[in-house]
């Protein structure tokens, strides 16, 4: 049953991920990205990570993708052919990736299934929101604070970039 769900989610994720770059209408690309986010959230649910699934939907589908759509619609991009027909670059990137995939696939049957453990541990802990909270604020406190500082710097930088003209006009 779990294998069946994983197969479905993974298959749809792969197909929609290809469609995001292959479709010519940017709106359709954004929509297939939306379907992709939903299925990634579905994968999280099958791993008993409900909190991650909800946050995935709220942050990516609810905020970031809406902004993408907003920009695409504001600029009224009907279709954009500039970034298509780049077969040489695509082949250059894809062949190493394909080789890597084949190597991993060949080795995968002998390698131990490490990814199974965390999911079952998380299921045993019950409330995974609380588990994430305690882990973030104890074990990973320093990386957490560093990440928030970097985000703050990025935010200030974005505001300064966006408001550059206002500051200059005031100085002159």
């Amino acid at each position: 049953m779990a294998q069946l769900f994983f197969g479905y989610f993974a298959g749809v994720i792969a197909v929609t991920a290809v469609l995001v770059v292959a479709l010519r209408n940017p709106i359709y690309s954004a929509l297939s990205l939306l379907i992709l986010f939903f299925h990634v959230a579905g994968l999280y649910v099958t791993l008993h990570a409900e909190f991650l699934a909800a946050v995935q939907l709220i942050v990516y589908a609810g905020a970031i993708l809406v902004l993408y759509l907003f920009v695409v619609m504001l600029l009224n991009v009907k279709r954009d052919d500039r970034y298509h027909s780049q077969w040489r670059v695509a082949a250059f990137v894809c062949i190493p990736l394909l080789l890597e995939f084949l190597v991993l696939l060949a080795e995968g049957s002998t390698a131990p299934q490490l990814d199974r453990l965390p999911a079952e541990q998380a299921a045993g802990m019950g409330d995974n929101t609380m588990a994430i909270g305690t882990t973030l604020f104890t074990t990973y406190l320093f990386p957490f604070e560093v990440a928030s500082l970097i985000l703050l710097v990025a935010m200030i930088g974005a505001i300064i970039l966006a408001k550059r003209d206002i500051g200059e006009s005031r100085e002159t």
């Binding site: 909800a54 939907l57 709220i58 589908a61 905020a63 809406v66 759509l69 504001l74």
Partner: protein
């Protein structure tokens, strides 16, 4: 397998009942809104269909059902059809985690059934927020797919507005979550039992009154209601994102708007005003010696609180003029957001020292 089948049947019955109640409530609201607005503006409201116009919603439904289903020339037909569905499904799906009545379990034929709770998932409130944010897609795509200036402008406005105010909705809820220590609506409601002084809007150590105000204002903005109805501003954009819609597709958008109103009212009731708990300890029916019928009183309290919020929606519509777009943004980011953030800090300190 039979047990699984029975569970499925019970769940489907619950879902059908809740969907039915929501649709009936929406029908009632369409009439109630016009009646209440009429009375507030010293008019009669609809009076033609049935006694005092009470059959008006059915007349509207029949009219919408038989209207010609137009697709404008140059519209993206697929997305034009998808958009109303994308708007309606997220509005209805959120009701799955709302606790309608007491958290009691009945044993029937070996099955334990919780009649007033469809599902108690441990991220209940995040689930509602996630699907509420998906509802914006229906509006944005509907505006884009119509191939009309007014629709597109309405859709764009809606995108900006929903993102801005969704943040405030999320942040205003955090205070309640800090006190309750859970994301499950069932647990949050259970923790508020025993009188109105235990409701999170008034509870020691950190009354969430400011959070309630921020939540209600942001919820009004998120459901695109007056005074934040810029996506469908009649005086500027004809009807905004659903200018080109007619017939059943228009009815879907209409249903979604009202279902969203009911949903945000239910969430406000469950989070801030004790959900189905009466404002006094226990229930009157319980004191009279019929504790097995206490659920009647509890569900009535839930309905009363929810309808009070819905009345507030109508009241605001009758009272306030529409905001300008820059005012809307400034209000959201410079007034609501700092209040919500300050509330989180104060609540966190209060819970840490007194909780």
């Amino acid at each position: 397998m039979t047990e699984l089948g029975l569970r499925l049947a019970v769940s489907l019955t619950q879902i059908a009942a809740v969907t039915g109640i929501v649709i009936v409530t929406v029908l009632l609201l369409t009439l109630a809104e016009r009646k209440v607005l009429g009375w507030m503006q010293d008019r009669m409201g609809p009076m033609e269909v049935g006694p005092y116009g009470i059959l008006q919603p059915f007349a509207d439904a029949i009219k919408l059902f038989f209207k010609e289903d137009l697709v404008p020339a140059g519209a993206n037909k697929f997305l034009f059809t998808m958009a109303p569905i994308l708007a309606l499904i997220p509005a209805l799906i959120g009701f799955a985690v709302i606790p309608w009545g007491p958290n009691v379990t009945y044993e029937i034929g070996g099955l334990s059934i919780k009649p007033f709770i469809i599902s108690d998932i441990n991220i209940g409130i995040l689930y509602i927020l996630a699907f509420a944010s998906i509802g914006a897609y229906g509006i944005i795509l509907g505006g884009w797919a119509s191939n009309s200036k007014y629709s597109l402008l309405g859709g764009l406005r809606s995108a900006a507005q929903v993102i801005s105010y969704e943040l405030n909705v999320g942040l205003s809820i955090v205070g309640v979550l800090l006190i309750a220590g859970s994301l499950s609506l069932v647990k949050i409601t259970d923790a508020q039992a025993g009188g109105f002084w235990n409701w999170y809007a008034f509870a020691f150590p950190a009354p969430q009154l400011f959070a309630l105000v921020v939540y209600v204002i942001s919820a009004v903005a998120e459901t695109n209601r007056v005074p934040f109805d810029l996506p469908e501003a009649e005086s500027e954009l004809v009807a905004g994102f659903f200018t080109e819609y007619s017939g059943l597709r228009f009815a879907f958008f209409y249903l979604a708007e009202y279902a969203n109103m009911v949903l945000v009212s239910c969430v406000a009731t469950a989070l801030f005003l004790g959900g189905w708990n009466a404002p006094y300890p226990g229930t009157l029916i319980g004191y009279l010696g019929l504790p097995s019928f206490a659920w009647v009183e509890n569900t009535m309290w839930f309905a009363f609180k929810t309808y009070s919020f819905l009345f507030l929606f109508f009241w605001l519509r009758a009272t306030l003029p529409r905001l300008r777009y820059d005012q809307l943004m400034r209000f959201g980011w410079k007034v609501m957001l700092p209040i919500a953030l300050a509330n989180i800090v104060v609540t966190a300190l209060a819970v840490f020292f007194f909780g």
